[in-house]
């Protein structure tokens, strides 16, 4: 018996060895389209680029809008335009990584394609999976997309500044749905716009970097 994606898993293992060799912490950011991955990256780069050498790999079906926004923050960006493909795979990340290799990287963000279904099946070599759930999406997404949310090492509830307008969203309920799919991952409520929870997110990243990419050892 072998896994259907054993070739991708092999490539992901190869990426992981590259990242470890270069002491690069690789974070896979996943969410539905519009949950705020790019805004989170912009705020994170602003806050962390004095401490960490940051680079970003961005997956997008069309347009380089996200890549341009991130590049404007002054960090190296490689865009993977996936065309009709709904996810990144390890080989794409490998190629993108080699385009970045001229400069050392402490923190590599991989902004996956906005999609709550497909990216879950493809390992990339990342040290941690971070999933964003924005307040306007509703708090039951972990129950609706268990395959995706089950693999998260951290859930960021984003756009928490919208909570006063969207009373249907109950952060504790989102956490409960996570528990019901057997995922003990911590949750942080954040807003890239007003800064809520961002220090906790940066702290998580710093501790994960210090723990050399072992999310199980990092509490919030």
């Amino acid at each position: 018996m072998r896994g259907l994606l054993c070739e991708n898993d092999r490539a992901a293992g190869h990426n992981r060895r590259h990242f470890d060799l270069h002491q690069t912490l690789a974070i896979n950011l996943m969410s539905s389209p519009g949950a705020g991955k790019t805004a989170l990256l912009e705020a994170s780069i602003e806050a962390l680029s004095a401490t960490f050498r940051i680079a970003v790999i961005v997956g997008d079906l069309e347009t380089d809008n996200d890549a341009r926004r991130i590049r404007a923050k002054g960090v190296p960006v490689v865009q993977i335009t996936t065309g009709s493909a709904c996810h990144l795979d390890a080989a794409m990340v490998h190629d993108a990584w080699h385009q970045l290799r001229n400069e050392p990287v402490d923190l590599l963000f991989i902004e996956n394609v906005g999609n709550l279904v497909c990216p879950a099946s493809f390992a990339l070599g990342q040290h941690a999976d971070v999933i964003l759930l924005s307040v306007p999406e509703g708090d039951d997404k972990p129950a609706k997309y268990p395959v995706m949310f089950r693999c998260a090492d951290l859930m960021l509830i984003t756009k928490i500044d919208l909570l006063p307008y969207l009373a249907d969203f109950v952060p504790e309920r989102a956490q409960r749905y996570m528990n019901e799919i057997g995922n003990p991952a911590p949750t942080l409520a954040t807003s890239s716009r007003d800064g809520t929870g961002m220090d906790e997110w940066f702290g998580w990243l710093r501790r994960l970097h210090a723990a050399q990419g072992h999310p199980a050892e990092v509490a919030t």
Partner: protein, 116 residues
Amino acid sequence: MHELSISRALLDQLAGLVRQHNATGVSAITLCIGPLSGIEPALLRAAYMQSRKQTVAEHADLIILPAAVRVLCQECAAVSEATPARLTCAACACSRTRLLSGDEMLLESVDLEFGA
């Protein structure tokens, strides 16, 4: 529609097996796909039917076996049946469970053809 990517990965594996064993083709493939694998069996079948043309598996039967979702409770050690959206322990309702099965995405067996 990542099932197309998975179907291509499957066909690549089959081509490798045929080469490795000096076979002439594939007559049957058995997969095991769990509900937490992220693969829809019907979509995978459709993708496979589309992408297998002019490959070693052009005429192969595709059998997809389901897998039950089962969890092991880390608190009370009970093994229970679960559903994809509810992986808590059926005995004590705790959420500290480990998945025993349900996320399979496996190539279980391949029947190779030999001869002209």
